[in-house]
C-alpha cells in the first residue's frame, strides 16, 4: 500500500482525541463539574455526543462489509441499529432520566432495592461491554492491516493500549465535546468519499451492480486468501482454498462463487423468500428483535442519558440521536453496493469488513484525491474505534471499580480499566475470523434478552419483583450468553442449531419476558413497598415540581 497519507491521518485523529480529552479534563476536573457543564449544553450537542459514542466499528466498517457479502437481507442491521433509539425513546428515555439512575445496576437498586440483583446486572454489563469491545479491536486490527500492511494483532493491540491508557489516565472521560466531534468526523469521513465514489461511478458509465454474468474483476488482481473457503468457478471448477493461497485474476475475469456468501446476483439483490427454507426469515426477525430492543441495554448508551437536565430533555435528545444516526446509516449501503463493482476480490479473501477502507483507493485510483479520501476514511474508522471503545471501557471499568472491587478511588478505577481493557484484547486476538457486525449483533442479543425486559417491565409494570427480575435476566440473558459462547467458542454448527445460536434473540427475548412476569406474579409478596413512590418519580412531569 503506497498511501503515505493514511498513517499520519490515523495518528492525527488519535492525538487530537487524546489531546482534547486531556485539555477538557483540565477544564473539568470533577464528576460534578462535568455533569453541571453538560447540563448547560443543548440536546443537539448531547445527541451528537451520544451518536459519536454509538457509531462503532460495526457501523462504520461492518455494515458495509455485510452488505457487500450478503446483500439486501442485512440492511436490517443499519435499520435496527437506528430503530433501537426509537424503542429507547418510546419506553425508556424519560423515565430512566427521572429515576436518577446512572448505570443499569443503579436502576436495579432504585427500582427494586435489591443488592443481589445489582450484582447480577453488573455481571451482564461487563459481559456485554466486553463482547462489544472485541469487534472494535478487531476492526482496528483489520483496518491497520489493510491500509498499512501491519500484522492483524498490531492494530488490535495498539487501539487496546491507547484506549486503556487514555481512560486509565483520565483523558476522554465522556467529555461531551470530544464525542460530539467524533460524530461529525465519522459522518464526514463517510459522506465526502461517498460523493466522490458516486461521481466516479457516473463517470465510469454506471457499471451494473449486478451484471447478468455475476460480478467480475475490473482490473488484474492478485488475491491472497485469508479464510478457508470453497470457490466455484464459472466453468464449473470447484476449488478448496486455504489461508495464504494466491490466486491471479485478469481484468474482466468473473469472480468465483464463494461458499457462504451471496455471490449469486439474485440472492444478493432480492430478500429471502419463504418456502424451502425458513431459517433466513427466522434469522431476520431475530436480528430485528435484537437490534430494536438491544440498544436500551448497552452500558455506554445509558450513562449519557444522565447528562440531560430532565425527562423531557432526555426525550428530545433521543429524537435528535435517532435523526443523526439515521442520516449516518444512509452511507454504508453506498459502500457495500459499490464494493460489488470496485472491490469484488474481498468476496474471495473473506475480508469484506475492509470494503470501506479499500473502496476509495480502488475506485478513484492512486491519484492524490483517491489517497486523501482513503486517508479520510481510515481516520474516520479510527475515530469510531477510539470513541466507542473509550465509552465502553469507561462504563465497564466504572462498574468493575464500584461493584466488583468495591472502592471508588482513582487507583481502583485505574486497576479496573486495565482489567476491563485486557480481557477483550486477548479475545480479539483469538477471534479474527468473525464478521465485525455479527459479534456486535450478539452483544445486542444479550442486551435485548437481559436488560430490555428489566427496564421495560421495571418502568411500566408495578408488579415486577426482585426475584422475578433476577430470574428473567438469568434465564433469558443466560440463554443468550450461552448461545454467544457456543457461537464464538464452540464447534461449527449447521442447520437450525446454527441459526438458533447465531441469532438467538427471537427465542431468548420472549423467554426473558415470560420468566420475568411469571416469577414476579408467583412472588407477589416481595413487591417493594415503595413502588407507588417510585412510579410517581419515574413518570411525573418535572413541571409539577413535586
Amino acid at each position: 500500500m503506497g498511501n503515505g497519507y493514511v498513517v499520519p491521518a490515523i495518528v492525527a485523529v488519535t492525538l487530537v482525541t487524546v489531546g482534547i480529552g486531556f485539555y477538557g479534563l483540565r477544564l473539568a476536573r470533577t464528576t460534578s463539574d462535568f455533569l453541571v457543564a453538560s447540563r448547560a449544553i443543548s440536546p443537539t450537542w448531547n445527541a451528537a455526543a451520544i451518536g459519536g459514542e454509538y457509531l462503532s466499528a460495526a457501523s462504520f466498517l461492518g455494515v458495509a462489509g455485510l452488505i457487500l457479502k450478503y446483500g439486501v437481507d442485512v440492511l436490517w442491521y443499519p435499520v435496527g441499529f437506528a430503530a433501537g433509539y426509537l424503542a429507547l425513546l418510546l419506553f425508556v428515555a424519560a423515565p430512566l432520566r427521572r429515576s436518577g439512575a446512572f448505570t443499569l445496576p443503579d436502576f436495579c437498586e432504585v427500582r427494586l432495592g435489591s443488592r443481589r440483583l445489582r450484582k447480577l446486572a453488573t455481571v451482564f454489563v461487563i459481559f456485554i461491554g466486553w463482547l462489544y469491545l472485541v469487534p472494535q479491536l478487531q476492526g482496528a486490527g483489520l483496518t491497520l492491516a489493510t491500509v498499512a500492511g501491519s500484522p492483524y494483532p498490531v492494530g488490535a493491540l495498539l487501539v487496546a493500549v491507547v484506549v486503556t491508557a487514555n481512560v486509565a489516565l483520565g483523558g476522554m472521560r465522556a467529555i461531551t465535546f470530544v464525542q460530539a466531534f467524533q460524530y461529525w468526523l465519522k459522518l464526514t469521513a463517510l459522506a465526502v468519499p461517498a460523493i466522490f465514489l458516486a461521481l466516479q461511478w457516473q463517470a465510469d458509465a454506471r457499471p451494473a451492480v449486478t451484471p447478468p454474468d455475476g460480478p467480475a474483476f475490473r482490473a488484474a488482481t492478485t488475491v491472497v486468501v485469508e479464510h478457508r473457503a470453497t470457490l466455484t468457478f464459472p466453468d464449473g471448477d470447484v476449488r478448496e482454498v486455504r489461508p495464504g493461497d494466491r490466486l491471479d485474476f485478469a481484468a474482466g475475469d468473473p469472480v468465483p462463487e464463494v461458499s457462504g456468501t451471496a455471490t449469486d446476483a439474485a440472492d444478493w439483490l432480492l430478500p429471502d423468500t419463504a418456502g424451502d427454507d425458513d431459517r433466513g426469515l427466522f434469522g431476520t426477525y431475530s436480528l430485528i428483535l435484537a437490534t430494536f430492543l438491544g440498544t436500551m441495554g448497552l452500558p455506554h448508551v445509558l450513562v449519557r442519558f444522565y447528562t440531560n437536565p430532565d425527562g423531557a430533555a432526555a426525550r428530545r435528545t433521543t429524537l435528535v440521536v435517532l435523526a443523526l444516526v439515521g442520516v449516518f446509516y444512509l452511507l454504508p449501503t453506498i459502500y457495500g453496493v459499490l464494493g460489488r463493482i470496485y472491490t469484488p476480490q474481498l468476496l474471495v479473501t473473506g475480508q469484506t469488513d475492509a470494503v470501506v477502507v479499500l473502496l476509495p483507493g480502488a475506485a478513484l485510483g492512486d491519484g492524490t484525491a483517491g489517497q486523501l479520501l482513503a486517508a479520510l476514511v481510515a481516520a474516520g474508522a479510527f475515530a469510531a474505534f477510539l470513541s466507542t471503545s473509550s465509552g465502553l471501557l469507561t462504563s465497564v471499568a466504572g462498574v468493575i471499580s464500584t461493584d466488583v472491587l468495591g472502592r471508588g478511588s482513582v487507583r481502583g478505577f485505574r486497576l479496573a480499566t486495565v482489567l476491563a481493557g485486557g480481557v477483550p484484547a486477548v479475545l480479539a486476538l483469538n477471534l479474527s475470523g468473525l464478521d465485525v457486525s455479527q459479534v456486535v449483533g450478539l452483544a445486542f442479543a444479550v442486551a435485548a434478552s437481559s436488560f430490555c425486559p428489566l427496564l421495560v417491565l421495571g418502568i411500566w409494570w408495578r408488579g415486577l419483583t426482585d426475584l422475578g427480575a433476577a430470574a428473567g435476566v438469568l434465564v433469558g440473558g443466560g440463554a443468550a450468553m450461552g448461545a454467544v459462547l457456543l457461537t464464538v467458542l464452540g464447534p461449527p454448527l449447521t442447520g437450525w442449531p446454527a441459526t438458533l445460536t447465531t441469532q438467538p434473540a427471537a427465542w431468548t427475548v420472549p423467554l426473558a419476558f415470560t420468566v420475568m412476569v411469571a416469577v414476579s406474579v408467583a412472588t407477589r409478596r416481595r413487591l417493594p413497598p415503595d413502588v407507588g413512590t417510585t412510579m410517581l418519580r419515574l413518570h411525573a412531569p418535572e413541571a409539577l415540581r413535586l
Binding site: L35, G100, G326, Y329, E542
Partner: protein
C-alpha cells in the same frame, strides 16, 4: 462513575430533587412552595400532596398517567411493527414485491436502505409531541383539579 456528587449542584432546575441512587436512605421529599399563587392554590396543593403521599386519589392519578403513556408507546410500536416488521414477511410470501423496481432500484433496497430512517424519525417525533401533551394534561389536572 457515581451520580452522587452532583446532588445539590448549582444550576439544577427547581424540579423534584431526584434522590441519588447511592443515597443510603431515601432522602425526604422536599416540597417547594411555588412563587406564583394561583386561584386554586390550596386545591392544587392538596392534589399535589395526594400524589406525594400516595393516597388513593394520588395513586389513581399516577396510574392514569402511566397507562396513557404506555398506551401511546405501544400504539406507536405497533405502527413500527406493522410498517417495518411486516416487510420480511411480505417479501417472503410475495417475492414479486421484491422484484419491483423504482427508478432502477429494487423496492426492498429503497424501503430498507432509505425510507426506513425518515419513517423512524417521524414516529419518534410524533411520540415526543404526544407524550409531552399527555404530561401537560396531567399537570393541568393536578394544578386545576376542579376542571
Amino acid at each position: 462513575m457515581t451520580g452522587a456528587d452532583e446532588r445539590g449542584a448549582p444550576g439544577r432546575p427547581a424540579a423534584a430533587p431526584v434522590p441519588s441512587p447511592r443515597a443510603a436512605e431515601p432522602s425526604p421529599r422536599t416540597r417547594i412552595v411555588l412563587a406564583e399563587v394561583s386561584r386554586s392554590a390550596s386545591r392544587a396543593d392538596r392534589t399535589r400532596s395526594e400524589l406525594t403521599q400516595q393516597t388513593r386519589v394520588g395513586e389513581a392519578l399516577v396510574r392514569g398517567l402511566v397507562r396513557a403513556q404506555l398506551a401511546l408507546a405501544l400504539r406507536l410500536s405497533l405502527l413500527v411493527l406493522i410498517g417495518l416488521g411486516g416487510l420480511p414477511w411480505l417479501f417472503a410470501i410475495a417475492p414479486s414485491v421484491g422484484r419491483v423496481s423504482v427508478l432502477g432500484v429494487n423496492l426492498p433496497w429503497l424501503l430498507l436502505g432509505v425510507a426506513a430512517f425518515p419513517f423512524l424519525i417521524a414516529v419518534g417525533w410524533a411520540y415526543v409531541r404526544l407524550a409531552e401533551r399527555n404530561e401537560q394534561d396531567f399537570t393541568d389536572l393536578v394544578q386545576r383539579p376542579e376542571r
